[in-house]
């Protein structure tokens, strides 16, 4: 089964769960006075779940023929192993680490680490340039966001700012 039909299957399952909530469990909490209204919080979701399930089924059963097209410029999934999947996975991991560490270790340290480790993952080995670029970017963005735009970003680790 092609990838697009697998996706359709997963989306279908999500929509069925969504539709179940809309049709059967959501209205239990509705106060009696709201039941007199022609529209309930679940009305629109009901329509959406039906529509989404119909189109997911159309894709799942291949009712709409998709044309064969040559996309030389795009990623060819059958040759996925020839691409830098490892690098992509590490960088995604770095992004997750950044999200988790941003608050605890502060903006400056986490951004510096993200930019240097990101370049390192992609094969950069000129450590001095890496460090200079990361320091300038980190400090510049922090100044822009915190001072110019006035959006608070905790610069230092938690223990340095007294929690």
């Amino acid at each position: 089964m092609a990838l697009d039909r697998w996706i359709a299957l997963i989306v279908l399952l999500i929509c069925v769960a969504y539709g179940y909530a809309a049709f059967f469990s959501m209205d239990d909490l509705l106060p009696p006075i709201m039941r007199r209204s022609p529209i309930w919080p679940s009305s629109f979701p009901k329509v959406l779940s039906v529509g989404a399930i119909v189109f997911a089924l159309i894709i799942l059963f291949g009712l709409e023929k998709s044309p064969q097209k040559d996309k030389a410029a795009d990623i060819n999934l059958s040759r996925l192993s020839e691409y830098k999947v490892g690098q992509a996975a590490i960088l995604i991991g770095l992004m997750i680490a950044y999200a988790l560490l941003l608050r605890p270790i502060g903006f400056l340290a986490s951004t510096f680490l993200f930019l240097t480790l990101g370049s390192f993952t992609l094969g950069e080995r000129r450590y001095v340039i890496m460090a200079i670029v990361a320091i300038i970017a980190t400090a510049g963005i922090w100044l822009l966001v915190d001072n110019v735009l006035g959006i608070f970003l905790r610069p230092f680790p938690l223990f340095m700012s007294g929690g």
Binding site: D4, M34, F44, M95
Partner: protein, 507 residues
């Protein structure tokens, strides 16, 4: 109209606003040249900045400048290194890059600059003439027509997705609408579909979703395929000679620019079509109507092949402001993001905009002329220097793109959970892209979702049921149109296929 123009002139020609246009164009051009950051992502990045400005007219002028700059910057990288950073400039690279390899990069860039300028300017004139007309029609619209109109817009987006893609585009639209129902709605003060997670109480952040749908998948593609951002054969594109175009060339591209500016504008006005389709259609039309000997030149370095998509996509950018400003319907993913920004700034685009806040409406139109002028002045002399930014090594470029998507999501919400959502949705979006699912419908559905539901609910309450569908002829007409838009392309492709098969059998 004249007093409106004057009002717009007086609003736009303040020192601050002119600075905003210039700044916006500069930012847009520079970031737009980097592959992976299209106008949509750049505007999403700029929204927090625009919101802190506070004044909606100024903020919108800034964002419009960024928009034009980004579309323009995308064509620069298309021409110089065959790396269209923006979908709407893919058609530009068909002929622009061959010209670069022939050492005529300067000529290609000049043609692109002039074509963009003309397209944008003609588009702005058409906007000036047609927008008030569309707006007066729009005043006849009630909530049930709004609901129907949004259904038309969403189905038009799906219908333009191309043959064999309609079901996928519609599924993505529904997914976007479903995601929009998460969290507390406006009409019902109860949280829906939050799965008991407090962070979902206010729904998904739209900047998060915009980043996850567009910037992240492109960045992941860049990581996966190192050749994606490189020059094809390492040719030295830093030498740019032959900037001028000859008199004959000017004569041959003038009608192309005129035709494509009008056509591009009209396509841009249609919800869902947008600059990408305008550029491809413009290229295709000009190729088909060119004389036989010039037809062979297309794809091998024809100046007409650069002029057509460039004038069309800039005119379409302007055109997409018509439904946005007069009806509140975004014609493309980018204007959908602009709509989100407007709502955040407490401006509700729609037929009342011209009446309630004319200074915003006219200032934007005037700033379009200004933006185009600034872009022309920027592009012509600065091109050789601007191109140097592209030499930023991939090893540094990609971490920065990723970092900017993270910052875009974090600044908007100030919530680290949003970053995890961003990464999660980004991975999902990349997988969707692997399987050829269009991502723009999801985002447009997500942004239109609350508006669609609120108008639907209001109409239901007014008519105490579904009666509004047959009691209001315009609603019914629009809904029928929506169905036709969805059904017609697949019906026609089915008939064409049946005919083709019939011919094959006959042979």
């Amino acid at each position: 109209m004249l007093e409106g123009l004057l009002l717009g002139l007086s609003t736009a020609f303040t020192f601050q606003n002119i600075l905003m246009v210039i700044g916006g164009c500069l930012i847009g051009t520079f970031i737009g040249m980097l592959p992976g950051l299209g106008p949509m992502s750049i505007i999403a990045i700029m929204i927090p900045i625009a919101i802190t400005i506070g004044d909606p007219a100024t903020a919108l002028i800034l964002l419009a400048g960024v928009y034009y700059g980004a579309v323009f910057g995308g064509s620069t990288s298309s021409i110089l290194i065959n790396a269209p950073g923006v979908a709407s400039t893919v058609a530009t690279s068909f002929d622009g890059y061959p010209l670069t390899r022939q050492g005529k990069a300067g000529k290609a860039l000049t043609v692109a600059a002039i074509a963009s300028f003309s397209g944008g300017t003609i588009g702005a004139i058409l906007l000036l003439i047609f927008a008030p007309m569309l707006a007066s029609v729009a005043l006849l619209f009630h909530s049930s027509e709004y609901f129907a109109l949004m259904v038309v817009g969403l189905s038009a987006i799906a219908a333009f997705a191309g043959t064999g893609q309609v079901a996928k585009a519609l599924l993505m639209t529904f997914l976007g609408l479903i995601m929009a129902t998460v969290g507390e709605g406006v009409l019902f003060n109860a949280a829906r579909f939050t799965l008991g997670i407090p962070d979902l109480q206010s729904g998904f952040g739209f900047i998060t979703l915009a980043m996850a749908m567009f910037a992240l998948p492109e960045a992941i593609y860049l990581i996966l395929d190192p050749n994606r951002s490189k020059t094809a054969d390492g040719g030295d594109n830093s030498e740019i000679k032959e900037l001028r175009i000859s008199r004959d060339e000017a004569k041959s591209i003038a009608p192309v620019i005129a035709r494509q500016s009008v056509q591009g504008f009209l396509i841009g006005v249609l919800p869902g079509a947008g600059a990408t389709i305008a550029s491809f259609l413009g290229y295709a039309v000009e190729r088909n109507i060119a004389p036989k000997d010039e037809q062979d030149q297309f794809g091998k370095g024809s100046v007409k092949g650069v002029a057509a998509p460039e004038s069309a996509n800039n005119a379409a950018c302007t055109g997409s402001f018509v439904p946005l400003l007069t009806l509140g319907i975004p014609g493309s993913g980018t204007t959908a993001i602009l709509l989100g920004a407007l709502i955040a700034l407490n401006v509700s685009p729609g037929p009342r905009l011209m009446v309630d806040e004319p200074q915003i409406f006219w200032a934007v139109i005037i700033s379009m002329y200004l933006g185009n002028l600034v872009l022309l002045m920027l592009n012509l002399p600065l091109i050789p220097y601007i191109a140097k930014v592209l030499a930023a090594p991939r090893n540094f470029l990609i971490p920065f793109i990723l970092f900017f998507t993270l910052m875009g999501a974090y600044i908007g919400q100030n919530n680290a959970t949003e970053l995890l959502l961003l990464v999660g949705f980004g991975i999902c979006a990349t997988i969707f892209r692997f399987a050829d699912y269009p991502l723009a419908p999801l985002l447009i559905g997500f942004i239109l979702g609350p508006l669609l539901e609120n108008n639907f609910a209001r109409a239901m309450q007014l008519y105490d049921g579904m009666g509004f569908i047959w009691e209001r002829p315009m609603t019914l007409g629009l809904l029928v149109l929506a169905v036709v838009l969805v059904v017609l392309p697949s019906y026609r492709s089915r008939r064409a296929r049946a005919r083709a098969e019939g011919v094959a059998d006959g042979d």
